[in-house]
């Protein structure tokens, strides 16, 4: 039976996140973008909202059950506040969700409770590689079996919090197939390089990481000897990112709408001009339409069905949406959109990254 309404419980979660996003994230976002980081206390407060924890069963240290739909609702709302902040707060999920989805019982028991119980502890994943033709299903980073061990070699980028995460979930090609390995940061052969400077996400510390002859026990392989289907995690990250892209888009749209009602030119608010009003109408329409694609893809994941098609549509739609909406928001603010006093240029810079953020969000 069709329904396009979040449940009462989801509504309460969204409201709680919205308060945090509107007050804490928004207020700190500009300063964080300039200085390069959110205050730790703020990240801790965001963690206490329990977005990740609520999606993990009690037996594994969480307090709920997994739902991709709830996850994208939460992701949209957090990203509406600030994308870098949202990714920072949700980073433990980069390890937790793949382990929950594809890990062995032993991996779940060992990794999840310490990560989820108590205060924020950084975790991360290393999937992206610094090549224009990066393809998550055809990685240049390799893993090879050597006796009872796996040996990883390669070069990753866009690894959030790599300087502090206890574990990195490293994606590598094993016999040509993408697999993942849980790598303690202190493992010999792991080098966290200098912090990256990027077009956007200034407030999220990301790093290039090198793996040289990095030797891991057999138990480090996600899913154990059998491994896992990488497509499932690819779909998951696509859906998670698409939800966040809708959040960034909504932020820019709402800001531009308020601005257009305030800004008087030629004696009337510019929103009373069709040239501006129609842009806003199209932004609102596309946001709602894309949100439906994202919800459907998340729902497909929750059903345990093959979500490849739905996730591809959601991701493609959301990537395009973010550029369309943030660009127009900057345009509606004009010169004021181009200066850093208003947040729309920040949303435009952050939004441009979605096509290459593979693995930077999970749900």
């Amino acid at each position: 039976m069709y329904s396009f309404e979040p449940s009462e419980e989801q509504r309460m979660l969204i409201d709680a996140i919205h308060k945090f996003a509107a007050k804490d994230l928004r207020e700190a976002a500009h300063e964080a973008d300039e200085s390069g980081a959110f205050p730790e206390a703020l990240i801790g407060k965001g963690w206490e909202l329990g977005v990740v924890q609520a999606s993990i069963p009690e037996s594994l240290g969480g307090f709920g059950e997994h739902s991709a739909v709830t996850g994208v609702l939460a992701g949209e709302e957090l990203a509406w506040g600030d994308l870098a902040g949202a990714m920072h707060i949700l980073a433990p999920g980069l390890l937790a969700f793949p382990v929950l989805t594809a890990g062995t019982d032993e991996q779940k028991q060992k990794l999840l409770p310490p990560l989820l119980e108590g205060a924020y502890r950084a975790a991360t994943a290393a999937w992206v590689e610094p090549f224009f033709d990066f393809d998550p299903s055809e990685l240049r980073t390799t893993a090879r079996k050597e006796g009872d061990s796996y040996v990883i070699d390669g070069h990753k980028c866009f690894v959030p919090l790599a300087d502090r995460a206890e574990h990195l979930l490293v994606f590598a090609a094993l016999d040509g197939r993408t697999q993942a390995f849980v790598v303690p940061r202190t493992t010999a052969g792991v080098t966290v390089l200098e912090r990256e400077g990027n077009l956007g996400l200034h407030a999220l510390p990301t790093f290039e990481v090198k793996f040289e002859n990095c030797k891991l026990p057999a138990t480090a392989r996600l899913g154990g000897e059998a491994g896992f289907d990488p497509l499932v995690l690819l779909n998951t990250t696509r859906v998670a990112l698409a939800g966040m892209a809708v959040g960034v888009s909504r932020a820019a749209y709402e800001y531009a709408l308020d601005y257009a009602k305030d800004r008087v030119q030629f004696g009337v608010p510019i929103a009373q001009k069709q040239a501006v009003a129609f842009m806003l109408a199209e932004m609102a329409t596309e946001i709602d339409a894309t949100r439906m694609l994202v919800w459907e893809a998340a729902w497909t994941l929750d059903k345990g069905l093959d979500a490849t098609h739905a996730a591809a549509l959601a991701k493609t739609g959301a990537d395009d949406l973010t550029m369309m909406v943030t660009d127009r928001a900057v345009q509606i603010l004009g010169g004021h959109g181009y200066i850093r006093e208003h947040p729309v240029e920040l949303w435009m810079r952050n939004g441009r990254g979605f096509p290459m953020f593979t693995g930077l969000a999970m749900v």
Binding site: D133, A281, E286
Partner: protein, 409 residues
């Protein structure tokens, strides 16, 4: 709870209608396109029989008493989408109340709904239509000049209506009716507008012209002239109050309420054409060995793969907006913004999808051997009728900005 599971009654109905679309519509699609104004009686009679036999009901959005949640508009949207996958022009010939019944539903009293809509449940096929547009009043509906003047127990209507979808089939070929929008006070603008039911065979009402069109040629587009056309006083839709000049309750607002109900349904028709196009494109590409690798990042896809995925994004996101708008209607939630959003999006999507399909497949699609070129022509009407894309943007803009029609003209 967010849910995308198709309700089982709808799934069952879709299977049946898909068969109709494949076997009754597609085979005559080209013929009807090339023989404009020929009446597709085979289809009309078949649908009348089929709908009575399966109690699928008429196209009039009436809510049957049923157990469980209301599904009326959702069922209709799926029905229209599937039939339009078969042929959008033929779909508009489907017996039932069409936009006429929708206007009665949106503005009529219970007694009037009973009186005017009962006919669609009979044995013979009957159509209904709505007459709004005039030569000088297209998007600006409040400037209509057709007048209604009270004369005792009658209204006397004078004026000319154009672009009446299925006017010929409603007023000449079957015993249907038109809902004619006229003004009871030409100086009052939108406040003077009222809907009137004019039945087939009413003296003074004449179908004067059938248009020759770019597409949807199986559907007639008629001009209707009203010359001292006398109709019973009770044919003004709404309570006795609406006859009074001062009230605006069911004037322009009634027209807008009608559009809130019908816009998502028109959008559903657009989606049928769009789905037909995407399916055929993928099928033809598959025959050439091209499959779409959905798991790849965009920069690794071929241009053709990107085109197809973009088309699917437009198709699916527009369809989900349509579903949301009709779901809201069934939930009795105000859906004015969503109805217009669905129309903006569906009109855009079907136009772009068919344009790009013809471009992508080149000579294969441009040829009349396939139906793609026809769908390209059929598609465009969806960005025009039932509110152009621009008018629907205006509706959406006013809603999101909280502006009146005076503040945002």
């Amino acid at each position: 709870m967010i849910d995308f599971e198709m309700p089982s009654p709808i799934a069952k109905q879709r299977v049946m209608l898909q068969t109709v679309a494949e076997n009754m519509m597609r085979p005559v699609s080209r013929h009807m396109d090339e023989h404009e104004h020929e009446i597709p009686w085979d289809y009309i009679n078949f649908m009348q029989g089929a709908m009575r036999a399966t109690s699928a009901g008429s196209l009039a959005p009436q809510e049957k008493k049923r157990e469980g949640p209301r599904l009326g508009y959702q069922i209709l949207a799926h029905m229209i989408e599937t039939l339009s996958w078969g042929d959008a022009g033929l779909y508009l010939c489907t017996p039932g109340g069409g936009l006429g019944a929708a206007a009665v539903e949106a503005t009529g009293t219970p007694e009037q709904k009973e009186r005017f809509l009962k006919r669609f449940q009979g044995d013979s096929p009957i159509l209904g239509c709505m007459a709004m547009t005039e030569p000088q009043a297209g998007s600006d509906t409040s400037s209509i000049r057709t007048t209604a003047v009270r004369d005792g127990d009658f209204w006397v209507l004078n004026g000319e209506k154009i672009f009446v979808t299925a006017g010929q089939k409603s007023l000449v070929e079957t015993k249907g009716f038109a809902v004619v929008w006229a003004t009871i006070d030409p100086k009052a603008g939108r406040a003077g507008m009222r809907p009137f039911v004019v039945e087939a065979d009413t003296p003074g009402m004449t179908v004067t012209k059938l248009e020759h069109k770019l597409g949807i040629r199986a559907s007639d587009t008629a001009s209707v002239v009203l010359q001292d056309c006398r109709i019973p006083f009770g044919n003004i839709l709404g309570s006795a109050e609406v006859a009074k000049e001062k009230t605006t309750e069911t004037g322009f607002k009634g027209a807008m309420a009608t559009f809130d109900a019908t816009r998502p349904l028109v959008s559903a028709s657009a989606m049928g054409i769009a789905r037909a196009t995407v399916e055929l494109v993928k099928e033809l590409l598959a025959q050439q060995g091209v499959t779409i690798r959905y798991h790849l990042p965009r920069q690794k896809l071929t241009h053709i793969e990107r085109e197809v995925i973009d088309m699917e994004v437009m198709l699916r996101s527009a369809w989900l907006l349509v579903l949301k708008a009709v779901w809201m209607a069934d939930q009795r939630l105000p859906n004015s913004a969503e109805a217009s959003m669905s129309k903006v999006k569906a009109g855009d999507a079907v136009t772009k999808i068919t344009q790009r399909a013809v471009e992508l497949l080149g000579p294969v699609a441009y040829s009349r051997k396939l139906l793609l070129e026809k769908w390209f022509r059929d598609a465009k009407i969806n960005d025009i009728f039932e509110g152009t894309g621009q008018i629907n943007r205006l509706v959406v803009a006013r809603r999101i900005l909280g502006y009146s029609s005076r503040e945002l003209r």
